[in-house]
């Protein structure tokens, strides 16, 4: 079975987000990790490989440093990596990302494509579905369970208030939801082996694309941070007075009662 996993390198979920002087998100000194939902996709791919044999190829679009995320996936047990990096891809929207990934994936034999349900940075949840559309194959989002029998897949997906059982034919794009599995740690042996595995680095020209045809259809106008929490208020005095004052503030100032 040939399995393709798309991954995105994102900020560590514990990173403090800072906006720099020109209004962009400052990535200086921030640890970069594999998007946690993509880790579920990787784990599922590795389990499929262990069951059915075959090869897992990790595909990522991003800056050169995103190779570190691919290497981590290789250390977990994936076989090969493809990184698409190009100066023309600095601020892609989801359409651009899907266009580029679909061109790269079209060059790889695949029976199934696994991606994370959402990237924890911009949270658009678009790339997986767009990718399926461009490749003209079915897609199911937010899967919690996957079973494969020949070229047929049975998936359980999360819907509001319950689950849905879907049968579909392969190849397909499936997006991984938390709960699908528990991603493994890369082992020490895996880390040592990862550096010997192949990571193909491609630019737009290698895919027969050029930056001028890939102008984002959407551009971010402004980033802003949530309003910082203001300091709490301390009410002092006799218990009865304190309670009365608290009730008054909750009604008049906080407007919660």
């Amino acid at each position: 079975m040939n399995i393709v996993v798309c991954l995105k390198q994102t900020f560590d979920t514990e990173a403090k987000i800072v906006i720099d002087g020109s209004g962009n998100i400052d990535s200086t000194g921030v640890d970069q990790i594999i998007n946690p939902y993509d880790e579920f996709a990787i784990e599922e791919a590795l389990q499929l490989k262990e069951k059915f044999g075959g090869e897992v190829t990790v595909v990522s679009m991003g800056p050169e440093k995103a190779e570190a995320a691919i290497r981590t996936a290789l250390a977990m047990g994936c076989d090969k990596g493809v990184l698409i990096t190009d100066p023309g891809l600095e601020n892609p929207d989801e359409w651009v990302t899907a266009e580029v990934l679909s061109k790269a994936i079209a060059q790889i034999p695949y029976d199934i494509i696994l991606v994370g349900r959402i990237a924890v940075d911009f949270g658009a949840s678009q790339v997986g579905v767009r990718l399926a559309d461009l490749l003209d194959i079915p897609s199911v989002s937010s899967i919690l369970k996957l079973e494969i029998d020949g070229d047929k897949a049975t998936v359980t997906r999360e819907i509001d208030g319950g689950t849905e059982l879907i049968e579909l034919s392969l190849p397909a794009v499936l997006t991984a939801q938390k709960g699908l599995n528990t991603p493994r740690y890369p082992s020490m042996m895996g880390i040592m082996k990862a550096k010997k595995k192949e990571v193909k680095v491609l630019n737009l020209a290698d895919l027969g694309l050029n930056a001028s045809d890939l102008q984002p259809k959407m551009t971010v106008q402004k980033f802003s941070l949530p309003t910082p929490r203001t300091a709490g208020k301390k009410i002092e005095g006799e218990p009865a007075e304190v309670a009365a004052e608290l009730a008054k503030l909750l009604r008049e100032e906080a407007k919660v009662i």
Binding site: I33, A68, R71, T72, A75, Y185, P186, S187, M188, M189, G190, I191, M192, A194, K195
Partner: protein, 381 residues
């Protein structure tokens, strides 16, 4: 010279840290309280390849360098110093002497399962009359045909009872002092080999520390490790490398205590401001961070010499004495910053301060480290 970790080491640190935080940290306090040996965590460490980091792949190891090993022990010890020493004693004190001095047969039979983590290892050198002074070794080995007969008692043995494979030293000719000592490999379950009392310790309480008792214990002659009469050399060289593990453990304790103190200082408000806003606490944190960085550089330097098979004795002793004294100083200050809370078991710094002390004692006390350093520098001049 490059002071930044490479991509592999960054990945290893992240992997071990994730594992330590997600699987190890939550149970540290309870295992300490109950003196519970973490067999399940040992098995998980083995699966991740942490039992044989520095040994070549052909012997079941990972084939990584000493820096990978130091990073691993540091990250484990940052949340649980007991697990740190379990891995360190296994790798440095049992698997490593077999790797350095073993015959090809011994390596195939004993090193391979140790390096894969299928078996656990321990090292028996210390005796009631032989602590810092190995020449006091009273355990004897007598040749009898194609066997050796071992008699005597070893004390304070880390991983005792739980380990499968033991590297021990015994006296074969008392008149020769240290030159009469020989090293042997003994398997758990050998008739005549049993375990005495389990020590009740101040710190690293979830690691097991046992007496080993040998009563007419017969082992095959081929289990002699290294040459006859060279057991002292085997032990000393083993400890040279072992000290890198203990220095890393100490570094991890210091780092863990420092992070706890930093977190608390940023949250705790007294006199209308956080502790972290007060000069007196800032100066403490600055000193802690500086000591830790200095210790880390000494540990990494010792790793460099160990990986490149250059003389490591002086650098390992310097790293060990400095890192262990740093662990004690930093953990003590961390308790001080947390004040009354720091003295309770509600917060991990109390455990860290107890765990830190042993790093100044085992695998050569701080006094012995200074003797080793002095002997090296006097010889160099």
């Amino acid at each position: 010279m490059n002071f930044e970790l490479n991509e592999d080491h960054i990945m290893m640190r992240k992997m071990v840290r994730d594992f330590a935080e997600e699987e190890v940290a939550a149970g540290s306090a309870e295992r300490d309280e109950k003196e519970e040996f973490p067999l399940d965590l040992w098995n998980k460490c083995a699966e991740l390849g942490l039992a044989g980091i520095t040994f070549p792949e052909e012997y079941g190891g990972v084939g990584a360098d000493y820096l990978s090993y130091a990073i691993t022990i540091e990250e484990l010890s940052r949340v649980d110093a007991s697990l740190g020493v379990i891995i360190s004693a296994h790798s440095s004190l049992c698997a490593n002497p077999i790797y350095m001095f073993g015959t090809e047969e011994q390596k195939q039979k004993y090193l391979v399962p140790l390096a894969t983590g299928e078996k656990m290892g321990a090292f028996g050198l210390t005796e009631p009359m032989a602590g810092s002074d190995a020449s006091g070794t009273r355990t004897t080995a007598v040749r009898d045909g194609d066997e050796f007969v071992i008699n005597g008692t070893k004390i304070f043995i880390t991983n005792g009872y739980y380990a499968d494979t033991y590297v021990i030293t015994a006296q074969m000719d008392k008149s020769k002092g240290n030159r009469g000592i020989t090293a042997f490999i003994v398997e758990k379950g050998t008739p005549g080999f049993s375990f005495g009392k389990k020590e009740k310790k101040m710190g690293i309480r979830s690691s097991a520390t046992y007496e080993l008792v040998f009563e007419n214990c017969r082992i095959p002659a081929e289990n002699m490790l290294g040459e006859e009469g060279r057991g002292f050399k085997v032990a000393m060289q083993t400890l040279d490398y072992g000290r890198i593990g203990i220095a890393s453990q100490a570094l991890g304790i210091a780092q863990g205590a420092y992070e706890e103190a930093m977190k608390y200082a940023k949250e705790r408000v007294q006199f209308g401001k956080t502790l972290a806003e007060m000069d007196v606490i800032q100066f403490k944190l600055a000193d802690m961070a500086t000591q830790i960085e200095a210790a880390r550089l000494l540990v990494y330097q010792a790793c460099h010499y160990a990986t490149h098979k250059k003389p490591v004795s002086k650098y390992a002793a310097m790293a060990k004495v400095f890192a262990s004294e740093t662990a004690n100083a930093v953990a003590t200050q961390a308790v001080q910053i947390l004040g009354g809370y720091g003295y309770t078991r509600e917060y991990p710094v109390e455990r860290m301060m107890r765990d830190a002390k042993i790093t100044e004692i085992y695998e050569g006390t701080s006094e012995i480290q200074r003797i080793v350093i002095a002997a090296n520098i006097l010889r160099e001049q």
